[in-house]
């Protein structure tokens, strides 16, 4: 717990999972708030899910390829985390449109990038820790993600109710935050997860 790497690993999940669960559990309500009928939205509503799937496979393949090309493990993981953190900001431009296809495309880019970020967040514990600590660190990041999601849902409910009068813009602050939080998470992970004195002491593996 005292190690910055542990915090970085927890943040990697805590700052990204709530955004994905916002998409899985609020997307239909969000679309209706945007003035889109689900009946006509059916053709687009599934796309972000498929994008998430492709993203996690792509992330696994790409980070494997980078390592094969001689990249250090840490750099290969971080490259995909940076890609994910930047890509998830694609949620923000949705505030300018009520076009279903454009919204679905931007959300799909975001979920593709989320999957890249979270796949790396899932492997970080096994990259960094000895096998006896892997499960407890993964457990901590799972708990962090759970608490983060609960807090996020409270805020989503509250702010979308407060801003109900603004109609199609009622979710604007929420999607802006949803785009920025993973970006901040990315910066924190880059700062916290690196080789430190603890690495030299053998408490954490070198990445």
């Amino acid at each position: 717990m005292k190690l910055p790497q542990t915090w970085g690993t927890i943040i990697a999940k805590t700052f990204t999972d709530p955004v994905f669960f916002f998409i899985t559990e609020w997307f239909p309500i969000y679309l209706v708030a945007k003035g889109i009928e689900l009946k006509s939205g059916l053709i687009a509503i599934w796309i972000p899910f498929l994008a998430a799937d492709l993203g996690s496979f792509a992330a696994g393949v790409v980070s494997g390829l980078l390592i094969k090309r001689g990249w250090p493990l840490g750099a290969a993981r971080k490259a995909l985390i940076i890609f994910g953190g930047i890509g998830m900001t694609m949620l923000i431009p949705t505030i300018f449109t009520t076009n279903l296809y454009l919204i679905a495309l931007l959300f799909a880019l975001a979920t593709f990038c989320y999957a890249s970020f979270t796949t790396m967040a899932n492997v970080l514990p096994s990259d960094l820790y000895n096998s006896e600590s892997v499960a407890s660190v993964s457990g901590l990041s799972g708990t962090g993600a759970g608490i983060g999601t609960i807090v996020a849902f409270k805020l989503i409910g509250y702010f979308s109710d407060v801003r109900q009068a603004s109609g199609t813009h009622s979710f604007d602050p929420i999607v802006i935050l949803a785009g920025l939080v993973p970006f901040v998470g990315m910066i924190l992970v880059l700062l916290l997860v690196r080789n430190t004195a603890a690495t030299d002491q053998g408490l954490v593996r070198r990445i």
Binding site: T24, P28, I29, L38, L42, I45, W46, G157
Partner: protein, 193 residues
């Protein structure tokens, strides 16, 4: 959904591809898990109107699921170690399928919250169980791929859910939209027994 009925039960005969049947089964249970889970969020815009929920109310119902889910993921890992993956997986599928079907009887904020809490508890067991099954059935070098396979069931389930759930909703209303997808789990389970 392909369920490897005869193969899965013949543990004694070594079938080279048996583990991939198991992988397929884990994938199927994850797909169904996500379809059952997505039913509520897909119907939420309509249920909100019917029960006059605010988004805060909906958030609280969704949180009921999350709380149980977060606790369950840690708690059920230990249970799976005790009862074994096979029985464990069968139990979780029966649990969440039954709850999903029972949700069609809900009639307001409190009953929805209760059913979602129970669904979250049951569904959370899928991950520790499937991860354990992968570690039991697959050699080390294939584990990453097998995990990726069953885990992708969540996005596939999320992608097909709108078609199944909304199609049923537009035709027959929201109660069958919980009831019918809920039965899917029993087909999957039938395959293992």
């Amino acid at each position: 959904m392909a369920t490897p009925g005869p193969h899965a039960s013949s543990k004694v005969r070594p079938i080279p591809s048996l583990r991939w049947w198991i992988g397929g089964l884990l994938f199927a249970s994850t797909v169904i898990n996500y379809i059952d889970r997505q039913t509520l969020s897909l119907l939420a815009p309509y249920l909100k109107l019917e029960y006059r929920w605010t988004n805060t109310d909906y958030a609280n119902i969704a949180i009921a699921f999350r709380v149980a889910y977060s606790i369950g993921q840690t708690a059920f890992g230990k249970l799976m170690d005790r009862i074994g993956t096979r029985r464990g997986l069968t139990l979780t599928v029966i649990w969440y399928s039954t709850i999903s079907m029972l949700t069609s009887l809900a009639n307001g904020f409190y009953s929805f919250s209760t059913f979602r809490f129970l669904l979250g508890a049951g569904e959370s067991a899928n991950w520790p169980a499937a991860t354990k099954a992968v570690s039991e059935w697959f050699p080390k070098r294939e584990r990453a791929l097998a995990t990726a396979l069953f885990d992708s069931g969540s996005s596939i389930g999320g992608a097909v859910a709108p078609f199944i759930v909304l199609w049923i909703y537009f035709r027959w209303g929201w109660r069958p939209a919980f009831m019918i997808p809920g039965t899917l789990g029993f087909f999957c389970d039938g395959g293992t027994c």
